[in-house]
């Protein structure tokens, strides 16, 4: 008898694992969240998967996701309050996207991120983006083709465009927070916006036509000063930003031919190196960019059988890319006055002592510091053909 009791007691020990049990059918799996500021309150929007619609076997044609919304004085309050409309508890463990409304971003994103960095259920591998000209709720309210869950579409679009076009940048919560707290580096975030008729965007009919009437698109980078949105970069500047910060994987850049016309260079290998130094007491940064590329297309009349042509193209590319990088730096220095590139950190790494002295006035120092940009392109291949057929077209 005594033996049996002991066995029972030991077995019951395993039950402690069930204390915090939550079954799948008690959870509202949230894939995207939006935070806006409405009348001094945080408005939280959660995009939640409807499990019966994403299962392969039986779907009744309803939308695969649904939105819940709640307001509160803090984000956490709003999150819990959501249960007044949601039948299940919001579970953010599978979060892919966090969308921040533009208005909130202008006021500062720090407070709203605090909960997200503290909450144990969240993994920090989701992307953070800023809704351009819109509230976050409006962005989350658009249905999308191909990926039936809009959050997945946003996630994958950002990932793909970051890898193969490089005018956007996928920034996770971790990256964002480390940019926010570190001296000498201010964050950027990708922007997201809607084109077309957003009224019909939320219904399922939106994805039933070949061209959806409302579409979610990425815009270029949003520039922050500390945690406040101060402006937007253009497309060219966004690419320039990614050039400087070594965040290009592959991209295509068009360059002008020696005579009229355009050619495009496909970047296949990319490396950019940032080194800080102190020159006569003033901080300086060298940016050294090494690119390997192929000739992607030739829309002009050049003779690709001559090695000289390749050298010429390399020179033009180097010059044009350097120009657009210089332009980006100037925009950051003169227009927005915020060090989004992490030049301050580069100085910090190379000259820690001087950095301590200039740290306080870094914002002023940054605006008129010297940045030496060097671009080195090596063209390797010309695709599957050498001479362009346009050449014979001309003759």
């Amino acid at each position: 008898m005594k033996r049996h009791m002991i066995v029972l007691l030991i077995l019951s020990l395993f039950l402690t694992g069930c204390w915090d049990k939550r079954e799948l059918n008690e959870l509202a799996i949230t894939v995207a969240m939006g935070i806006d500021k409405v009348e001094d309150e945080f408005q939280l929007t959660a995009q939640v998967v409807v499990p019966s619609e994403v299962s392969m076997k039986q779907s009744s044609g309803r939308s695969p996701v649904t939105l819940f919304q709640a307001k509160g004085e803090t984000v956490y309050e709003a999150l819990r309050k959501m249960t007044i409309s949601s039948p299940r508890k919001i579970y953010p463990g599978h979060l892919r996207m966090l969308v921040i409304g533009e208005e909130l971003a202008q006021e500062g994103i720090g407070e709203s991120l605090e909960l997200l960095s503290r909450d144990w259920e969240l993994r920090s591998d989701f992307y953070v983006v800023v809704a351009k000209d819109k509230t976050a709720a409006e962005i989350l309210n658009v249905s999308t083709p191909i990926e039936s869950i809009p959050a997945n579409k946003m996630f994958n679009t950002l990932k793909t465009s970051e890898n193969s076009w490089s005018a956007t940048k996928g920034i996770t919560l971790d990256d964002l927070i480390s940019d926010l707290i570190s001296d000498g580096q201010n964050p950027v975030l990708s922007g997201i916006y809607i084109t077309g008729n957003e009224e019909s965007g939320s219904s399922k009919q939106n994805v039933e036509s070949i061209t959806p009437s409302a579409q979610i698109l990425y815009d270029y980078l949003a520039v922050f000063n500390k945690d406040k949105l101060v402006g937007w970069l253009t497309e060219r500047e966004s690419i320039g930003y990614n050039y400087i910060t070594n965040s290009i994987k592959t991209t295509v850049t068009s360059v002008s031919c020696p005579e009229k016309g355009k050619a495009s260079i496909e970047v296949i290998q990319f490396k950019s190196d940032m080194k800080g130094k102190i020159n006569k007491g003033e901080p300086e940064v060298d940016v050294n960019i090494q690119v390997e590329g192929n000739v992607g297309s030739v829309e002009c009349h050049i003779n690709l059988k001559e090695p000289v042509t390749i050298e010429e193209l390399e020179k033009i590319y180097e010059k044009e890319v350097k120009e657009s990088i210089d332009q980006t730096i100037e925009t950051a220095q003169k227009q927005y006055k915020t060090d989004i590139f992490g030049f301050g950190q580069a100085i910090h790494r190379s000259n820690p002592k001087t950095w301590k002295k200039i740290k306080e006035q870094w914002d002023e120092k940054f605006t008129d510091m010297v940045v030496n940009v060097e671009v080195d392109l090596k063209l390797r291949r010309t695709g599957t053909v050498n001479k362009s057929f346009l050449k014979s077209l001309q003759e």
Binding site: I268, L304, P307, R380, R381, T384
Partner: protein, 372 residues
Amino acid sequence: MMRNIKINSNQFLVLVIFFTIGTSILEVPSALADKTNQDAWITAIIGTGIGLLVIWFFTWIALWFPTLTYIQITEKIFGKWIGRVASLIFISLPLLYTSSLLFQSGNFLNTHMMPYTPMVALNILMVGILVMGVYLGLETIARSAEILFAFFFLAFFVFVLLIAPEIRIENVQPVFEVNLKNMLQSSLFLVITSSVNAIVILMIFPAFLNKVKQARRSFLIGNLIGGIVIIIITFLSVSVLGADKTANEIFPSFELAKRISTGDFIERIEVLMASLWIISLYFKMILYFYATVFGIAQVLNLKDYRPLTMPLGLIVMVLSLVIYPNVVYKQDMNITTEYSFSLIVGIFIPLLLALIYGIRKKSLKKELNSSK
């Protein structure tokens, strides 16, 4: 000095065929069609003919001393010191061309299949099997060539059969539009890549062959068969793709394989066909590499060549990454500097050799007899 390695004349035949086809299968159609347009295939025939003469010349030299390699012959005829200098110049050719071919294999895969894989990664794999082959020795190379030969010709036969329906005979008309002088000039590319560079084969012929007389026939027949393959490929390229497209493509025969579409069923098999060029490229490369390693060992009078294989593999690997900064440069080098280099090493020095041999014939014979 070395173990007694012997390969038979059939194995030698296969090696010569692979050497002749080598890179030519990928590049010759484009190079020939550039100047001679639709007559490229006639140029290929002319090139093969001249190539056979060159090979005959090589065998003639080699058979003066049927037990010696080319390096030993050079030293015998030129004397020790001038001979060594000539030998070093000779060895630099296969050394350079091993890296060149290594670049080609990486470049081919980079262009058509794996654009974002760094070439280093592709080349490391290739160098791996290259070093392995040379390390295992000539017999192993010859036997594996024999085995892969069957596959090669089966695939080639299927390839020709499948692409044949796409032939547009209008593409090769009018025949003989280009004058003979242009043809001779263009055919130089084929003569050099397939035949003049075959001087490196004199490192195994006739010293490592068991029946020298038969081997001489194998050398000539191998070159002829290889040449025929090139002629067929060139003809197919021009007649299927058209002369201009052939000239513009970097790898016309791969483009050719993309055109295969039989009954909407057998199509998209170009990657399978790519194994054709990889095999022939590999054996050409390995013959170059073997000549390099073995040649260095012989010039320095080493007892074993194998310790040098891996260090030279490393050198060749690095060279393959630096010798051609880009493909345009490569194509330019192919028809200028490499022409000169091949002609100096493959024609000029052997001619000099023949001249001096003629003068010193008697004393050399006496020396040979007295040493016996």
